[in-house]
Symmetry: D2
């Protein structure tokens, strides 16, 4: 299996933002594009790839449900890194095409939606055409189906097309967060600027979620993302995706996770990994590892009969 | 403006699930399809439509960020009804086309993703093609671009196509929740089985969200959905979308909303409306309207000097 | 009943700390000493006195259970003022008696306990003798039963005795807190430095008291005293005496009291009155009266259909 | 030190309720009466007694501040047992004295207060006289100073007096709770019906005590007693005495104690011991030792890289 350890699967096709993220994660790995997010994660579960790169959330489109749902089911995999990619779009055409020649512009509907203002201002007479991905739009342009494609900047490295315009997104602050997933091996070491992700199933009764978040709060843990999803076939239960600051190797985080585990029928650890922003987590007074060591020593002494 | 009161704008094009939902909401209104979710909501804000029908969340694809983000900004509108539509797909072809003739199947990429298993089993050699919507796929089939379209069942009422197969979704439990939005007028009356939606901006510090959810819990309020989104340009603050049982005219709900309002820089009421499932909200002992009346009378008496 | 409005009953006998406190409360009222705390409070309930002065807690001896229990039962009375008296003791003898002549020293056992160090150092050969009160000790000295009495400084104003020593308490920081009770009439106006006292009966299950204190905390209310007492004959229920900063006329306090009222089978308001220390209560951001007015106006607008 | 292990010091004098409790605790130990509660506890600290028996709270008089304050300061000692003694009073006279002969009745003022109704009904013309303890009253009767003494039933075993009446307390449900204190050695083994006592110093800010009680509540711990005392010389800090169900050897209790230790500048363990009522503590689902073992194993597995 030596070879497989050098492979990073990513949600393809080639030439998309996910490929850009996969390259950012693993400069020297062999990259393999797979057609769906479940396929990509399945490759890690099956051991045919060591890592999988998938999108988790987009600041414009929101959470990527396929990633969350695939992580929630079947064999656990964990995130070992995150990458936040600014979403920039390029307009690609066949060599020799001018703006005046562009009558059709193709892309994934989400990408079209994010450049609609630019298109209205710059190519007001061009018609929008859908593609299954930004890269598929590039291929279709290459094949002559459409005149221009809205793509990730990386696409131009894969297809013999020309960049007619770049940075054309209506919003310049859009980002997508990607995770690098792995099945086995050691956890990433704590860096002091880490994030932990979990999925927890919560009984649907007043106060139960509040109690869980209070557990986190009492451990000085700062939530950075929460998302609920109803559970098919299980009335009155919800699944929550939580991201929070800290690393499972920190005592406050481990202690809080153990508390969630006691309260929930089902809690799944999705990993502790360095935050993309590298901003150190603030650890409030009273919940540092030293505080935990002190209180554990105090308790052990009392239990042993020391006064 | 008499005419406008009879218009319901919906996120088009015609022939989609959103049109199906819009019909379910307002049997006698004139329906107008608009090209984007922001356009649809803007029509209500501008008064050119009395109601707007938009999707809020899909059990497979997750939350519809465009709806949430458009509701969060600009002039407030409120939800006056919700509708939960089972997501069923049909395969439409031009009259005379057989399954054996289908070499290309078009739809919105999300729809294609939801019938991929059926396609693999039933049309293994057909190639997927993207469209900007399920209805656009139907139009493209009509125009001869593709052989078949994956659409909402309602599409066949708009286009002279034939249903080659129906109920072809891989998951039979997929649903989409739609909201009917309005700008003005009275709130829907409480039914005993109501839901309230709010957007609240929360400072990003340990315990602040837990404190807010504890407010809800202490008022006996049952959360049914929560979703966080980072706020562009406001580091350390998050926006939360909350759905919970109860109606703003109930005292426990009004009291809890007022508490959120005091804690947050920004809380936006998105409406109280009958739940699609019509299941009465459980009101725990101690937080019924009678309990609130009793405690208010007790407090007023004490303040007036009664013992 | 004109006369009765000028009468303050106090827990006697004359010449005790309680008389000192009663004088501090009501310079111009007629003071009447009654033999027990229940008798004193009963006088207010019966209308034979307008006010009653009773001790509530002593920094050395702790809470005065008779006061708490009498306040908890029967017709409600409320505290309209508090007074904190530094506990100083004098040694009284008959004129002509020298320290060398003192062979017996009488006082209430609690008072004897508080000057034991001084007696050991200054009158090592004197024997302790009990009296039912510090004033009764003075009377007994006057009658020749004992040689010296440990009394409140005020006692010398009532009995023709001589002060042999004063400020003889072993601890110089001891204080007793007294309440001035009333049955009827308006509440004292808020001063900004107020205290509110309540008795609340709490079901004895995990989290119920924590929930009540969380209600106070979420209203920004600072607890300054809590004391539980089991309820005779009601297994699994406890009565709690709470003192906290703020005045019932403040909205945060009224709102918190109403919340306690909804949670408890039984909550009794014991008054809002100026704190003896005159230190303004800190009102955290978000729970000022202005914040309450703002949130109430916001809620009322929403309920009326404003957006 | 063989001898000292056989000695139980108790707060005397002989013939009081505390002696009764001391006998109930330690049938075969040598009992030594000491004059004050601090003296009694000091004997254990000094090793001159193995155990100390002191009152902690009385259902009529409330908490015994001297016990709480002495436990809070200096070298820690812990409670190894509790005993709840029904408070019954006897009326003792010299042999030959009839009820008609009783003109003075002596006792500790607290005891007099608890039989006042009986005295009024049965000895209406007898005058009350104070003594420093119920036993001192018996001695004074023996010496002829007074005609009758209100005492603990045990007193008649020490003094050649006659029981003129017994069970004369106005309330028949009064009880006093006593603790048996020890300095060293193993903790009592858990019985399933245990109580744990702690003293914790809490910063005086809104929500801090609520947070501590929430820690207990989240660990499924049921509080049975709470009492605050201001801290002399430390403005804005309070000391709380807490009793709750469970034993420090239980994981939920140990974990909660460690959490208190992290939050507080100062927490003192006062012991885990069998409850006098022998009623098993209810351990809610999710916080049994098995739940703790499971969550700890789960956490350790995750940290070790298991999935």
């Amino acid at each position: 299996m030596r070879t497989s350890t050098r492979i990073t699967a990513y949600f393809g096709p080639r030439g998309t933002f996910t490929e850009q993220a996969a390259r950012a994660f693993t400069a020297d790995a062999e990259l393999v594009a797979l057609p769906t997010i479940p396929d990509t994660i399945a490759a890690v579960r099956a051991g045919t790839a060591e890592f999988a790169c998938v999108p988790l959330e987009n600041s414009v489109e929101g959470a990527v449900s396929a990633t969350m749902d695939t992580l929630a089911a079947a064999e656990p995999v964990i995130a070992v890194a995150e990458h936040v990619l600014p979403i920039r779009f390029s307009l690609l055409v066949r060599p020799g095409t001018d703006a005046a020649d562009v009558r059709t512009v193709a892309s994934h509907p989400h990408a079209l939606a994010q450049v609609r203002g630019w298109l209205a201002a710059n190519l007001p007479s061009a018609a929008e055409r859908a593609a299954t991905s930004t890269a598929a739009a590039a291929v279709a342009v290459l094949e002559g189906q459409f005149d221009a494609a809205i793509t990730a900047p990386v696409a131009v490295e894969h297809y013999p097309l020309t960049v007619l315009a770049t940075d054309i997104a209506d919003r310049t602050d859009a980002v997508t967060r990607f995770l690098l997933l792995s099945k086995s091996g050691a956890l990433p070491a704590p860096t002091g600027a880490d994030r932990t992700s979990v999925i927890v199933v919560v009984e649907h009764r007043p106060g139960e979620l509040a109690a869980m978040l209070t557990e986190l709060a009492l451990h000085g843990i700062n939530l950075s993302r929460i998302e609920s999803r109803p559970l098919a076939g299980r009335v009155g239960e919800y699944r929550f995706y939580l991201d929070f600051d800290g690393h499972i190797q920190e005592q406050r985080v481990g202690d809080a996770l153990a508390a969630l585990h006691r309260r929930s029928q089902d809690v799944r650890f999705l990993g502790s990994y360095a935050k993309a922003d590298c901003v150190d987590s603030a650890v409030p007074a009273g919940v540092t590892d030293q505080d935990y060591d002190d209180s554990a020593a105090w308790l052990a002494g009392l239990r042993a009969g020391e006064r």
